[in-house]
Symmetry: C2
Subunit: 370 residues, 2 copies
């Protein structure tokens, strides 16, 4: 059974300490007992992580590739992540910089149902960047959100996506909101013959998520937005693996920032917003764009897009979706940077156009197609 | 409707920038649009976060208390956390250092079903520290784990807890494992008349969690261990709010370390492992103990215990549960530090005793009662 391999960047004063720390990780992430009490045989030989590679990366920084048995991860994505970084997340100076799932984990976690090609086909725009305006702000009513959706549809939006802060609050509860938006898109379609995909934000509580998924499907929602930082990556896998449901998943980075921000701990940008999203089954991975109000660098954003699109990555390539400070004026720069396999989120800046939202989206389309 | 208040520590060069950042958070966490497009009236007046207090905390560090409407958070714990720190988690130099839920959020999230008193009563040890050996390591079979449970029960353990790395792997699948452990505890009870509480680790995948909970209840498991970093805090609330189920919840810190480690970002130790756990409904909050292989300081551990036990905190006071490097030899030091409202996790070190695990637990009991 092919083992899966996690590469960690480890802070250590010298090679000896680096080896001790790598050994610590190999035990911590699996048996979680000291080496002297690990049972001989299968547990010691297969379950305990195996240091495959260890070398210096820089001043007091080492790189350790540790392989694990698929037995350790079992069938579930949460337990896979538990092995990758569960307890090690609590230790200083350990950062996950690469994850190679290997054949067996790939078999268990086959990835996105739709991916780049599937999504572009669903949106009727093969090989092209998709424009996804966001329905917001939180606090306005379902009918007002639906009106924005209608204007976006008239303007030629490819995806109409709900803000991740629209949950099931009394101002625009999930069910009436979804019904109002679907009705607005029906009207737009009747008028123009074209219809954007509609991604609704899946609300909690936990015990009503299944009902909410079923409701969304029955109401003709096209895709679901979820926040793995708050609901877990297992919810993404649950949606992606449901053949009868057959709905694409958009993952939002809310509550995941603390993993990527520290340089010497956490999880690298490309692994969190690329590799792990692909394994879980996300079709679209939202992340904060460079130059907006979030502090991601251009290199970090490029690493995310590369991990989403890497033809050798796990499962299907998926669509990176930069958002946060995205605007029509930046369209051609963004196109130069990200190319055509991308979902451009248009958020707050779009609302400045008032009734002219549609024209702004059409202008974005022209800029991308130029 | 009482607003809830989050206090952030913000990095800023001067008071002017601190104010701009605080205003940024107030918008980011709610409407997520620039101030100039926020609708007048209810959305601007109620939904947008309100800076209640802003002042210097140190060199280039400010403290901002921002209040939010319960309307913004809605009924679900995931959306509450989304307002507290969702997108702000992705911005540098913002750390949540306090969370005051206020009356309305407390009404929606009443907290732990059992808490300190309830758990001590269930364990038959009112006012006393509880000893909780851990069943491990991952990789051994269900019968071997059950045998350890049996020895722990004979030794007088108060809680027998499964390692968080025991999921539903083929070496010890969830159902046969649970059945074997329950049978072992039945046998110990028949022999001694005393029975520890048994906390089983709830496995994924997402779509089978309900089945697993029902199975655990039917099999006479006493409590459930879950990892909110991987499964979400909504799962804790789902268990805590289920009156018919009436099972206590133990929360494990796996995959949550990245939130607390950075000094200038993330979420403070006491908020993450105290306040938020209490709001979600955890009865026991596991965290890495000082002096073990994790790097938490004594002050950080004390802040967690204080937040768990604060009589003015949300819901019932809950049991802090330091683990990781805990051993019988440290019992009296630990008792001096944590007092009697605490669950002492005994992990890998216990396995060194082999057949004498029970004697070690009895020795721990004597040290705590001395």
């Amino acid at each position: 059974m092919t083992r899966f391999t996690v590469t960690y960047r480890i802070t250590a004063s010298d090679a000896r300490q680096a080896f001790a720390r790598a050994q610590g990780i190999a035990h911590e992430q699996t048996v979680e007992v000291p080496p002297d009490v690990v049972p001989q045989g299968y547990v010691r030989d297969e379950i305990v992580g195996r240091i495959e590679e260890l070398g210096p990366e820089g001043d007091s920084v080492f790189r350790a590739a540790i392989s694990y048995s698929p037995d350790s991860a079992g069938p579930d994505i949460a337990q896979l992540l538990n092995v990758v970084f569960g307890n090690s997340s609590i230790q200083k100076g350990i950062r996950v910089i690469h994850l190679d799932p290997g054949e067996e984990i790939l078999r268990r976690h086959p990835g996105a149902r739709f991916g780049v090609e599937g999504l572009q086909r669903l949106a009727g725009r093969p090989g092209s960047g998709l424009i996804a305006p966001v329905l917001k702000p939180q606090g306005i009513g379902a009918e007002e959100l639906a009106r924005i959706a209608y204007l976006c549809a008239l303007g030629g939006a490819d995806i109409v996506k709900e803000d991740h802060g629209l949950s099931d609050q009394r101002m625009a509860p999930f069910r009436p909101r979804v019904e109002a938006v679907v009705a607005a898109l029906d009207r737009a379609e009747a008028e123009t013959g074209r219809r954007p995909l509609y991604f609704a934000t899946l609300p909690g509580p936990f015990e009503r998520i299944e009902e909410a998924i079923a409701f969304a499907k029955a109401a003709r929602v096209d895709g679901l937005l979820t926040m793995p930082g708050l609901f877990g990556f297992g919810l993404i896998a649950r949606i992606a693996r449901d053949e009868a449901l057959a709905m694409p998943v958009m993952a939002h980075p809310s509550f995941l920032g603390s993993f990527v921000l520290p340089e010497d701990a956490g999880i690298a940008h490309g692994v969190m917003f690329g590799t792990i999203q692909r394994l879980a089954g996300s079709d679209i991975s939202v992340f904060p764009n460079v130059g907006g109000r979030f502090g991601f660098s251009e290199a970090e954003c490029r690493s995310i897009a590369a991990a989403c699109l890497d033809p050798h990555g796990p499962g299907r390539p998926i669509l990176p979706s930069p958002g946060g400070g995205m605007s029509v004026d930046r369209a051609s720069d963004m196109r130069a940077m990200y190319g055509s396999d991308v979902v451009y989120l248009l958020g707050g800046s779009l609302l400045r156009s008032g009734e002219a939202i549609g024209e702004e989206i059409a202008r974005m389309r022209r800029a991308l197609d130029a």
